[in-house]
Amino acid sequence: MAEWNAYYRNEDDEEEQEEGEQSGGMVTGRDSLVFLVDASKEMFIKEEDGKPSNFDMTMQVVRSVYTSKITSSYRDLVALVFYGTEQSKNPRNSFKHVYVYHDLDEPGAKRVQEVDELRGSKGAQLAAKTMGSGETSLGDALWCCANLYSDIKLRLSHKRLMIFTCRDDPHEGDSVKDRQGRTKASDLRDTGVIINLMHLMKPGGFDVSLYFRDIITPPEDESDLGLQLEPCAKLEDLQNRVRAKEKKKRVLNRLNLCLGEGINVAVGVYSTAVPARKPPPIKLYRETNEPVRSKTRVFHTQTGSLLLPSELKKAQVYGKKQIVMETDEVDSIKKFEDPGMFLIGFKPMEKLKLHHHVRPAVFLYPEEDDVKGSSCLFSALLKRCSERNMFALCRFTARRNYSPRFVALVPQEEESDEGKGQITPAGFNVIYLPFADDIRTLDAPQLPCASQEQVDKMKQIVTKLRFKYRSDAFENPAIQQHFRNLEALALDMVAPEDIEDLIMPKVDQIDTRLGPLVQEFKDLVYPANYNPETKPAAKRKTGGAEKKPKVELPEDELRAHVQNSTLGKLTVPVLKDACKKFGVRTTGTKKQELIDALIAQYFTKFML
């Protein structure tokens, strides 16, 4: 009956709890995205000024979506379909002039490569050779896409189709085809597919109302916003527009903003800025490269029998005493109240201190579907807070068994750029505020201040180096490099593509711009013999600074340190040695972890 108690536990349990706040959410299916791209001759017309053709631009965007899906949400499904082609290629070959280049699947290295092949003038040649340009039937193309969706055996949570074209009248007046297209579009929309139009530059302007207005899904808020958009002329615009649509808004959680007894506004919490991390490695079996699963078993050291959670307890050591609790008690200590937000009061904006920052903010938007009337009250609060320059102070419990935090709800008004769509949405930014524990006391050094002359010289320097900061201007070099490496390995490339480290100061440019200003400033603030690059005048005693010999710690001394709680006085190398010597298992290398391990060892050995 030894395996009777078999109990497996995921080893990452605790980490997950730690980091649960950022991940998580209500993921119940896959997102899917179909690029439906016009392959007519018009798409391949090159502009005279060397700008890429519409087709080329589209392929660049498709590629960037592929790679961004790979890095951020590899489980999403993406397809690439051309219409208006000469050749046909689709699952049952039942549609003419529709070419399914990639059917709905997770994007991978090979697909990126295949899209790359369609870029540039070579790409245009390849496209002409393999697909060609022919008749157009949007109805057939949409029908074919509908089949792609229905062939998928997985549950899809979000279905989107983007049409890239520069022809506002695709069937050139063929009313039968027009009607067919409308019918198929409406069928698709009925199955939950959202159809967007990414219309591209066309001589004489792109008239959405001519035909495509009846094809696309009307915008969420029923305003005309979506239709007034200008066609995209620039790659950057197209990329932004696609990026804004391509990702589904994932709500972190939905909860109530409680103003008082019985006044609950339903809100959704969204995260708009989360540090992207390198995805964790996957363990693979050497022979086959297939992923392995890990199971963690907890068993009794002496008897070897497996231990169930009920046979385990949790403990911490304080003041030389081991304090033991049941596992569910440990959870219950963390619980204060059910998830939600509770309004405490209001404060003027200047009371929100810049340096009161402990973690990235989240965004709040009403959920009319949960509590009817939420949007109206939310909007009234937002309006008034914004006009009166106030923020709302709330207590916020984000999840079950999370302790509360105070947050500032800072109003943000909607900003739109004409022709380009929304820049910032209306809603509250939720700023996490520090507790007393989070603020450290520092001894600020007392130093002389600069004279106005010195300040003015620095002002000249600052003014020379001003630029317009944009939050999306810098890529993370470490993550970019990681994915380039993977890409190179996946595609058997000789070497990974080079990355540009955008957060490296452009020293040469800075030097040229500043010219003599640097020396002038240095002359003003530094004495002649001062060199900031070196350490200040030798503080260290010369001569006697021999390296200390390695200290060995006898057992009785260690015991004395444990008893007097003076382990903290020892250095990390000494502690490490002690751990090694007395066979203490350590989980980390931080000082506290070493100390904890030694103390725990001590208690199990000597006291109990």
């Binding site: 395996e3 911490q316 800075i510």
Partner: protein, 713 residues
């Protein structure tokens, strides 16, 4: 601490000074223990029946006991205070006690480094003290650099607490209202004399009453960390650098210690061993040796093997530590809500470098006057990836610094578009807006007082993190009262998290108005699809692979739904699916469908084969899921219970094992209201009983349980 006999005197219904003084010491020691400071502490009692101190000689320094020498406080000390310190029947001169303490400090700090020496005296001053050597004592205190603190049963300054509101003195501070005895008044004068001689200005601030002290000591110490300096150079271009030192100023603080896992019976950590095994994701779950595991990463649909060595060699490398300016930009270009990371770093010039101070000051002031910030590349050291961030100028009365906060990379941002709120349906009316206005007015936390100064009623950054307070409260309780349930939250902590009372009274009417003006109706939702985790009754800890399996099951089921609309009974091919469909169709009564399902389960189990076991488990899972969905727990629970009873007789241990692994528990009250099983029982169900069963098994001779099971349905 004075433990002399007058300390236990008190008016009826009042706590004697002895008890209060003891509490002060207990609270103080607790705080020290949990803050894990390296401060050392000794305990000297006076007024004890016996005498035990190094100075006792020739009848001098009598009735004074050194209870504990200078060392770091621990639970042993707490237990001693709780159990060994009692009111005693002698009296002793508090000045003598002071001398014993001074002597102790002097001798026991020899050869040790220390920041501060403090003697804290807790006494009621009822014993006559001889003032002969007072001046010598004061001189010695001064030379030794010892500071004093007095804790008395009554407030010291009559101008502060006693004078203004005489009626309050009686109830708030027992003893104060009744007038002090002659000895006490004399004693108080001496205390004041000592304190003022030591510190002319603020001497009296270090005299506290027990009550005040208890209020201030009720919370556990906030987490304090010694700031670590990060020396570096701020660079602008290749030839302008300024020496700087960075310190973390604000940081999302975590508890220092994590929970360790111990064996429930022995409470020993070493009795528990954790082992991780790896297995292939096949039917047999073939185990794989650790040496045969390599590392890989996902690149979209591809999994790319990528060893640690290669990864290290190819990874992004940089030159290490840096604080380099990329350029300057207007402060308005930086959005507060785009701050990232969990810390704020304050950047100063080194304290011994005036030139760096002037140079940095020029930069700080230039930025401040231009309303700009520096955008910098920041790398803590070679091992950490570099960040981009903003350095804000910060000019305070006593110092200047730059404040560095991390800004997002392009990869960190998600640009979501939301429907405009300027929608006709949601635009609030004037009446609604004015209701909100009066609500805001009534809930303003910052107000001007009579003198026209702004007063902030709730500075949340002065409140200690409630999670830590609660954590220490519970740990302390468990350490001191083992075997008793955890205490409720401390009332002051609860109150600290609520609206200030003034606000909650003031906002009642405006809230009612808001309630009237804004109709809010909760929308009944169809039940959200349960994730597999919920179905299995587990919140966390499901390996991904399992989750994925769950997903597929549901997906299958949806497809099957469309494909086979006409299920009439629970078949043998896919009983779980049929069961779900039938329950959904409601063509048969639930009980009937359940009976059909359990028949199939029993058939499957009679095969004694892992494959069939797995199939039965999916049936049981379906049974459970549907029962929860319909809110009918009884049939399922009683089936599972009787199934469990029958395990030993039918030799189905292996199957039960699997069921345990999948954590298929009973349905608890938490999930379905009508259930008679508590959550705890549900969880224990799979676990605890097996030992009893081992014993019980041989005695059960009943073989007819299969039929019993079915009859029950």
């Amino acid at each position: 601490m004075d433990v002399g006999f007058s300390m236990s005197n008190s008016a009826p219904g009042e706590e004697p000074p002895f008890e209060l003084a003891k509490k002060v010491i207990q609270k103080f020691v607790q705080r020290q223990v949990f803050a894990e400071t390296k401060d050392e502490m000794a305990l000297v009692l006076f007024g004890t029946d016996s005498t035990k101190n190094p100075l006792e000689q020739d009848g001098q320094y009598q009735n004074i006991t050194v209870h504990r020498n200078l060392m770091i406080p621990d639970f042993e000390l707490l237990e001693e205070i709780a159990n060994q310190i009692h009111p005693e029947s002698q009296q002793a001169d508090w000045l003598d006690a002071l001398v014993v303490c001074m002597d102790l400090l002097k001798k026991q700090t020899e050869g040790k480094k220390y920041d501060r020496l403090v003697i804290v005296l807790l006494t009621d001053l009822c014993t006559q003290a001889s003032p002969d050597e007072l001046d010598i004592i004061i001189d010695n205190l001064k030379t030794a650099g010892i500071t004093l603190q007095f804790f008395l049963p009554f407030p010291a300054g009559d101008d502060e607490e006693g004078g203004g509101d005489g009626d309050r003195g009686g109830s708030g501070h027992p003893g104060a209202g009744k007038g002090l005895s002659r000895e006490q008044e004399q004693g108080l004068d001496m205390v004041k004399h000592v304190m003022l001689s030591l510190d002319e200005e603020d001497g009296l601030d270090e005299i506290y009453s027990f009550r005040n002290a208890l209020e201030q000591l009720c919370m556990f110490k906030r987490i304090e960390r010694r700031p670590t300096a990060w020396p570096c150079q701020l660079t602008i271009g290749s030839s302008l650098s300024i020496r700087i030192v960075g310190y973390k100023a604000v940081m999302d603080e975590r508890l220092k210690k994590t929970w360790i896992t111990v064996d429930a019976q022995t409470n020993k950590r070493d009795d528990v061993k954790r082992e991780t095994v790896y297995c292939l994701d096949d039917d047999n779950e073939t185990e794989v040796q650790k040496e045969d595991i390599i590392q890989g990463f996902r690149y979209g649909s591809d999994i790319v093997p990528f060893s640690k060595v290669d990864q290290d060699q190819m990874k992004y490398k940089h030159d290490g530590k840096c604080f380099a300016v990329l350029g300057f930009t207007k402060q308005s270009n930086i959005h507060r809500h785009q701050f990232i990371g969990n810390q704020v770093i304050k950047v100063f010039a080194p304290k011994d470098d005036e030139h760096a101070g002037v140079a940095l000051s020029a930069l700080i002031r230039a930025l401040d006057e231009l309303n700009m910030v520096a955008i910098v590349r920041y790398a803590y050291d070679r091992r950490c990836n570099p960040q981009v961030g903003a350095a804000f100028p910060c000019i305070k009365q006593h110092y200047e610094c730059l404040m560095y906060i991390q800004l997002p990379f392009m990869e960190d941002l998600s640009h979501f578009t939301f429907p405009s709120l300027e929608n006709k349906k949601f635009v609030p009316t004037e009446a609604q807006l004015s209701a909100v206005d009066s609500l805001i007015d009534s809930m303003m936390l910052v107000e001007k007082d009579e003198s026209g100064e702004q007063k902030d009623m709730l500075k949340v950054h002065h409140i200690p993190n409630p999670a830590f307070q609660r954590h220490f409260q519970c740990l302390h309780h468990r350490a001191v009262n083992p075997g008793t349930p955890l205490p409720p939250m401390e009332p002051w902590l609860k109150a600290a998290l609520e609206r200030p009372e003034v606000i909650s009274e003031r906002c009642q009417a405006p809230l009612e108005e808001v309630k009237r003006k804004f109709p809010l109706t909760a929308v009944e939702k169809k039940k959200q699809l349960k994730t597999s985790a919920q179905i299995f009754g587990k919140d966390t800890g499901e390996p991904d692979a399992k989750k994925a399996k769950g997903d597929e099951e549901e997906e299958d089921y949806n497809l099957a739904d469309i494909a086979e609309g006409s299920v009439t009974s629970v078949g043998s091919v896919d009983p779980a699916r049929d069961f779900r469909t039938l329950v959904k169709l409601k063509s048969l009564p639930f009980g009937e469908v359940c009976q059909q399902l359990t028949h199939r389960i029993e058939q499957l189990l009679s095969n004694k084969n892992t494959h069939y076991y797995m199939k039965s488990i999916t049936c049981i899972q379906a049974f459970r899921e549907q029962s929860v969905k319909l809110g009918k727990a009884d049939l399922y629970n009683s089936y599972l219970q009787s199934l469990k009873r029958s395990i030993p007789n039918r030799g189905l241990e292996v199957f039960w094992d699997l069921l345990v692994q999948d954590a298929v528990t009973l349905i608890s009250k938490d999930e379905v209201e009508g259930s008679t099983v508590s959550k705890n029982e549900a969880n224990q169900f799979l676990i605890t009983d097996e030992k009893k069963e081992e014993v019980a098994a041989p005695t059960t001779e009943d073989t007819g349980d299969v039929d019993d099971l079915l009859d029950m349905m």
